[in-house]
Symmetry: C2
Subunit: 651 residues, 2 copies
């Protein structure tokens, strides 16, 4: 009966929760049982209409919409699969069809309005600091009145008084004024008794004139648009302080969790570009509005936004067609940085505010990587440094003050918990650190927010692999060690063997949390992608140089146990004190670009210096990848410090 019930599987997204369906309850009750907090005022009584969710797969196996649903949802919503969690149950009449399937029959998306779950999104980065020298300047000035003797135009008098205040402006520097601002200046001048604050962008462009003295209100917002998560940092441009941080799941995930799915959608129908674009703009505007209300400012006081993101996010944000990025030879529309008026992109900041979009390096190396490079200042390092930004696509940067190489490796989303039996994102209830006692194979672990465990997130996965190796539960080739599989820590069904990390009674999901042979393969593939990618790039360097330090960036990079990452052979074998976890370096890069205009020139300059390596087409890639599948590597001498490996069987 267990097994029969377990054959009905629901994937809840974007939280990557897989549920083995075994209850008669509504989706609301299932989610409550799982401790997934969703919005509901009425507690499931069907009177508030807040528990909206989107059934992306499996509609036909659910009960038909109730009267209550018809009153809260529009016809179009119902047609598209929107339901209320409290009203929706499995339709028992159709159950028979499902019994023999092993793939999930349901995919249900929880929009961010519905989902109250508290995600462990990395919003801080460890910054090397930057000068405060924003492109936005505010100048308060008292413009002189015109007279018959000196009947100069409004703009020319403003310009005169601006030049008097900005002695660094050269006579030849032309002051430009936004045409819409120009239309307003006769009124602003006369209503404010000629006392105004001029907002300048990039030295010479008047983007706003405000009545009175407003120089203390000068804000910017830096965005990191990730495939899954968007973070925005509201920053006071006078002192560089972060006044508010807003983050949310990228609503594009409703259209597909990974980039390839979204690219396919756009390729199918160009209108989907518009759709995905408006979805991400809506997300950014939500973050703007939320951070403004936290900081108690008006969004018109934000004069500039900076944006980093991978190439596809970059293109969709700008409304540029990204389909050519999705097929060989993976060509973006533009690489160099862009400055676009906020209103052209419908971003709700100051009407004539500027959006700076950092440059991208190649089809799979986006503006986020530029962000990592800028904030880590790898280009200033004396020692050869490896920086890894770990996400669905892993970016590898190798460089120092002389050279700069980048490459992208298809790490897959295993490290984000996808395609792993009990994988999940780094949310409450995720097992994030694991130790195994090599004598009795007893597992101890911690969970995020100390909730009852419901799955394993990326850092937990790296830990469990490293610990299983140290306990010789698995071999260097990633197989379960035959000597151990009869131990009580294993479940054996048919041909499937799973190592138990958390016992049934400990978890909140009504069953064990385990690691399977397939799970190990997924992690092997991910770590092999990083390591072989690093090797491939290193082959481009002259003189047999060695990596002297490592920066681990990204949410995962920050929470991972770096020693275990080295132990499984994901990163090269260097001393612990030379491995730095630098946090959300991409987002920090966006902040630095907001605060320091010089970095933008630096970014363009670096574009010319950076050498891009298309890892997957290198002739020795297959060999390198296969060798790196071993723990830590086929060639043990690459990891001289890991003495434990002498005792770990190879196969």
């Amino acid at each position: 009966m267990e097994i029969k019930n377990r054959s009905i599987i629901i994937d809840f997204e974007p939280i990557s929760r897989r549920v083995y369906f075994s209850s008669d309850g509504s989706l609301y009750e299932i989610l409550s049982d799982l401790d997934v907090q969703i919005r509901s005022i009425c507690g499931g009584l069907g009177t508030c209409g807040k528990c909206k969710l989107l059934v992306q797969k499996g509609k036909e196996f659910l009960t038909t919409p109730t009267k209550t649903e018809k009153s809260f949802l529009t016809e179009v919503e119902l047609r598209n699969g929107w339901r209320l969690a409290c009203q929706t149950k499995l339709n028992k009449n159709n159950l028979n069809h499902l019994e023999k399937l092993t793939q999930p029959q349901f995919r249900i998306f929880l929009p961010s309005d519905t989902l109250l779950e508290d995600f462990k999104i990395l919003i801080t980065g460890i910054s090397k600091g930057t000068k405060i020298q924003p492109t936005i300047q505010k100048v308060y000035t008292e413009v002189r009145d015109p007279s018959l003797e000196e009947p100069y135009a409004d703009f020319e008098r403003i310009e005169e008084s601006l030049r008097a205040k900005l002695p660094n402006l050269k006579r030849n520097d032309i002051i430009n004024i936004d045409f819409n601002v120009l239309k307003n200046i006769p009124n602003i001048l006369r209503e404010s008794d000629h006392k105004i604050t001029i907002v300048l962008w990039n030295n010479t462009n008047i983007i706003t004139c405000e009545p009175g003295n407003t120089i203390k209100d000068k804000f910017g917002i830096a965005f990191d648009i990730g495939t899954t998560t968007i973070v925005g940092y509201l920053i006071n441009l006078n002192n560089g302080k972060i006044y508010a941080v807003g983050s949310k799941l990228n609503s594009q995930t409703a259209y597909g969790e990974d980039l390839i799915t979204r690219l396919t959608l756009i390729k199918e129908n160009n209108e989907n570009l518009q759709k995905l674009n408006s979805v991400v703009i809506k997300d950014l505007n939500e973050i703007i509005s939320n951070t403004c209300s936290i900081a108690k400012i008006d969004s018109s006081q934000i004069y500039e936004a900076t944006v980093v993101g991978n190439t596809v996010m970059h293109h969709i944000f700008l409304g540029l067609n990204p389909v050519n990025i999705g097929m060989s030879p993976f060509i973006p529309v533009i690489q160099k940085n862009l400055n676009v008026k906020a209103k052209k992109l419908n971003l709700n900041i100051s009407k004539n505010g500027n959006i700076y979009i950092a440059p991208i390096i190649a089809g799979f190396i986006g503006a986020d990587t530029i962000g990592v490079i800028l904030s880590s200042q790898i280009y200033n390092e004396k020692s050869l440094t490896l920086a890894i930004d770990i996400g669905t696509n892993g970016e590898i940067i190798i460089g120092n003050r002389n050279i700069l190489y980048v490459g992208s490796c298809a790490a897959g989303s295993a490290l984000e918990g996808a395609h792993i039996s009990n994988g999940m994102r780094a949310a409450a209830g995720a097992i994030d650190t694991i130790r195994i006692n090599s004598k009795d194979l007893e597992v101890s672990y911690t969970t995020i927010k100390n909730k009852k465990p419901m799955g394993i997130c990326g850092s937990g996965l790296v830990d469990v692999i490293a610990e299983m190796l140290k306990s010789k539960i698995i071999t260097r080739s990633g197989n379960f060690n035959r000597e151990y599989i009869n131990h009580e820590s294993f479940i054996r069904n048919d041909k499937k063997i799973e190592f138990i990390v958390a016992k049934k009674e400990e978890t909140s999901i009504g069953k064990e949390i385990t690691v399977s042979q397939d799970d190990i393969r997924q992690i092997q593939m991910a770590k092999a992608a990083f390591y072989s990618g690093t090797r491939i790039i290193m082959n481009h360097l002259k003189d047999n140089q060695m990596i002297k330090q490592i920066f681990l960036a990204g949410a995962f990079g920050n929470y991972i146990n770096a020693q275990n990452a080295k132990f499984i052979g994901m990163i090269p074998d260097i001393a612990a004190d030379k491995i730095f976890q630098i946090g959300n370096a991409a987002g920090t890069g966006a902040q630095h670009c907001l605060l320091n205009r010089d970095l933008r020139n630096k970014a363009q300059e670096l574009l010319k210096k950076i050498k891009y390596v298309e890892i997957a087409i290198e002739k020795n890639f297959q060999k390198e990848y296969a060798e790196a599948m071993y723990f830590p590597h086929l060639k043990l001498d690459l990891f001289p410090s890991l003495g434990e490996y002498k005792e770990i069987p190879k196969r």
Copy 2:
């Protein structure tokens, strides 16, 4: 009976035709009798609805709208005074009220759609020539295909191929691309097999990409927006040739013939700015569409427009509020030149085309004056030169390669035929040259298009004054000479005396064409404004310099008899071969700005050099003006070459 009938007066605008009403016919018949050609397919039968006109004054004295009118005109149109000429007559029941009035009781506006009259609008200027070096460049290039080895973005490959074709571009010159163009380049590149034509503005800005080789199609249009008339010159930017000229009456005249009326309208209600702006934009778009169909090109092949116009026209065209120009100290919103995207101004040229608007000098010295200065190249002259642009406002420019002074004088519209008993614009049937035989006072004249005379235009007025002086019909103070007023060439009614220029039987208006004492005053005031303005500005010059040559610009300046203008004391007394009639120099200036980018910098540079003299506030202005009211001047020694004056009585 004559006199009674003549007390009913209709002013037809914008043709400045005053009609003394003496018929029972419809407005259509009156206009036909006057030889004013208006649109009508049915010939006045009331079946085509084409003879629309706008009754601006006197609605209440007309018959009420007929069924036919109600079928062709909307309720709103009828309420606003729109009528069909063929359906509208004078309402005889109300005639009694009108008998004792002497001011026109009717003002009827003929929109350009209705009016077929062929106007003598000056559309050519005598050009000193300019280099062909437009801001618009077209570059045909074959962009290389991307590859896995060199996976550069679309924009970067375009940039690379552009730089190869433009060796003068410096490495540091940043190539910008219009955001909307960027969105299209993936498609354009791939659909055209990577063979494209890039349209550049100002060296480094990509404003369009076109598939294939289109370098031969490169057009621009130069506009001169006058208070009354708009002219547009469609120019091939490859060879500098004018492919088509379009001109039309400025539809803003429906809202007021002079600038002050329009400024008052805008001051009353800001929405009128929007209205007047859309009216002028519509006019320009009509000219664009007409010239394009003449030249058989598509308006998307026009990549740039240049615009000159007086300050108020400049502001209304740009949608900038001009009300502060209308009151002391007469302050415009902006003086410097502007480049605005065509689509921001709703001008139907290439989507990302540029509009260059020449700078203005002061509240009453507009971009048209900059046009005159640029095309006359007065700033290159060795000799001190006086340039006069004669319109409703007279602009006076005095300068040479060292100095440049400008001033504006309120010449009034007498020289355009307004406020003159039988004045009219330079349209078919206008008397444009006049000679008087001083023995028998016999008048000979010519008319425009050799039509039966219906009025006198500006050049005719200057002639008739000069000829009356030479024949001693009037004195140096502008009075009719008592010795002559009993001659048969005069009409005497009550206290009014009029000199007959054309006898009743010669004219098409059923009465004599005459010059009255008041008419002479009007011309005196106009010529005194020019001459005293010139003197006031000359007072600013050091070292008692003398004017060595004169440029007469503008339509009137081109058709005037320069010797007679000198004879009446409108311009200083210099040799005939030093007076040049340079045509529509403002429009020519707009053309030169379209063809030669360097002139735009020149214009900005000149702005700094030009000294503006506010003539009317100078302390000796009243005295200078009063002295200049005499023919040619109170001080005869200022006109040493005019020996005839010895015999002309002073009072």
